[in-house]
């Protein structure tokens, strides 16, 4: 028991888990549900963690599993309808270096299939290696690469189209 991780070690991973969860789910509420469930599962299974290995990578693996099986509140992923009404995404603005409008990036990200979004974020945002992402997701590296390739290209086209207004289903345009 002495060699297992404690709350302090787990706490150190939380900011990055939350960042990833926010990017993955789109809203603060869904992200915190996902993170909370992942933390609880990790705590229950902490005896299974191999001391000396990367706790952060282990936590991301758990979060992936929670994400695909659904959080306990029973949402496998956040539906686009939820996002339309909850509209509490990260602050809007424009990325100075790239000229990308951040609100458009957030909406475009939501248009990607979950499995592509996961790879794009694990690699592009969280800077895990392809091998680490492959291990976390339980898929071969080739699959990681093809998902990454499709995700980036799709995102590029969405952003070039000037956001996703033209692609959003009619249901999302309704006004509260």
């Amino acid at each position: 028991m002495a060699e297992a991780f404690g709350a302090a070690e787990l706490e150190a991973v939380v900011p990055r888990l939350r960042r990833y969860a926010r990017a993955l789910t789109g809203t603060r509420e869904a992200a915190d549900d996902l993170t909370q469930d992942a933390l609880e599962r990790a705590w229950q299974k902490r005896a299974l963690w191999q001391p000396g290995t990367d706790l952060r990578a282990w936590m991301f693996t758990i979060m992936h599993n929670v994400f695909v099986t659904g959080t306990r509140k029973g949402r496998p992923t956040v539906s686009l309808d939820d996002l339309a009404v909850e509209d509490n995404r990260p602050a809007a603005g424009t990325s100075v270096e790239t000229g990308i409008v951040l609100g458009e990036l957030a909406r475009s990200l939501e248009m990607l299939p979950g499995e592509q979004r996961e790879v794009l974020l694990l690699v592009g945002l969280e800077q895990f290696s392809y091998a680490e992402a492959s291990e976390m997701l339980g898929v071969p590296i080739g699959t990681v690469m093809s998902r990454l390739s499709r995700a980036r290209e799709r995102l590029r086209l969405l952003l070039e189209a000037g956001g996703v207004g033209s692609e959003r289903p009619a249901a999302l345009r309704r006004v509260k």
């Binding site: 028991m1 404690g6 709350a7 302090a8 609880e40 005896a47 951040l102 290696s129 392809y130 952003l159």
Partner: protein
């Protein structure tokens, strides 16, 4: 480079996963393939913009329960508090709203299991006052529990006293603080002994429970309730619990 770089090589370039030589090759190619260069630039910009969009989350305060064994409300409050203590932010705040379950021996067994699971994994701060200051520790805890406390010696069982800490009361109905003594053997296994003032001055037999992955023997003896928790063999734990009991009742 005669052949255009593979799609994989382009992404590995974006993700900085190439050797210097591979990177130079890709750059040579990109210099003559405007379409590929534009795509690569777009992918690089995606990474930058993702950071602009989501890095602010890193600095946000959060209200998550970091070390929560299960969703049971009582347990999660307990662990929210434990996490707070470990971070040194403060004591006893979240605690006040906590409503205890059934009082008496069942409660102390649960409190002991939770305390054990919360503090035993702590490498640096398992205790507030170390055994080096045992006299001070015992005097302090006795004062706070408002009854003379003793720290039993478990040396004959191979466990040294590490020290102890004060835990805040677990409910409004039961405002007495709790004392936690921690022991460690040569292999680093830890036992914790929770001591609590019991209002009804009863006496009970040894009881056993298993909770949160910790085994607990608990009993009430006069003004105190005791609970010895550990993740060791049940018979061994019982033997040590008997040793504690005998020392406290010579």
């Amino acid at each position: 480079m005669n052949m255009p770089p593979t799609e994989e090589l382009l992404h590995a370039y974006v993700d900085n996963a190439l050797t210097d030589e591979e990177r130079r090759e890709v750059e040579r190619w990109l210099a003559q393939d405007a379409e590929a260069a534009q795509r690569v630039r777009a992918y690089l910009e995606q990474n930058i913009a993702l950071h602009s969009l989501f890095d602010p989350v890193l600095a946000e305060p959060h209200a998550l329960n970091v070390a929560t064994p299960r969703r049971a409300a009582n347990a999660s409050r307990w662990f929210a508090l434990a996490a707070t203590l470990i971070l040194g932010i403060g004591i006893g705040f979240a605690w006040r709203g906590w409503q205890a379950g059934p009082s008496g021996p069942v409660t102390i067994a649960r409190e002991a299991a939770l305390a054990h699971v919360a503090y035993v994994p702590e490498v640096r701060h398992p205790v507030e006052v170390t055994a080096a200051e045992e006299k001070h520790l015992v005097a302090w805890l006795s004062k706070r529990l408002d009854a003379p406390l003793r720290a039993p010696s478990l040396v004959s069982h191979g466990y040294q006293l590490l020290g102890g800490r004060l835990l805040p009361p677990t409910s409004r109905r039961d405002p007495a603080p709790l004392a936690l003594l921690m022991y460690e053997n040569a292999q680093g296994k830890r036992l914790s002994l929770l001591v609590k003032r019991e209002a009804n001055n009863a006496e009970t037999s040894f009881r056993f429970s298993e909770d949160q992955g910790a085994r607990v023997f608990y009993w009430i003896d006069g003004p105190f309730g005791y609970a010895l928790a550990g993740d060791i063999d049940r018979d061994e734990l019982q033997k040590i619990a008997r040793g504690v009991y005998q020392q406290l009742n010579p």
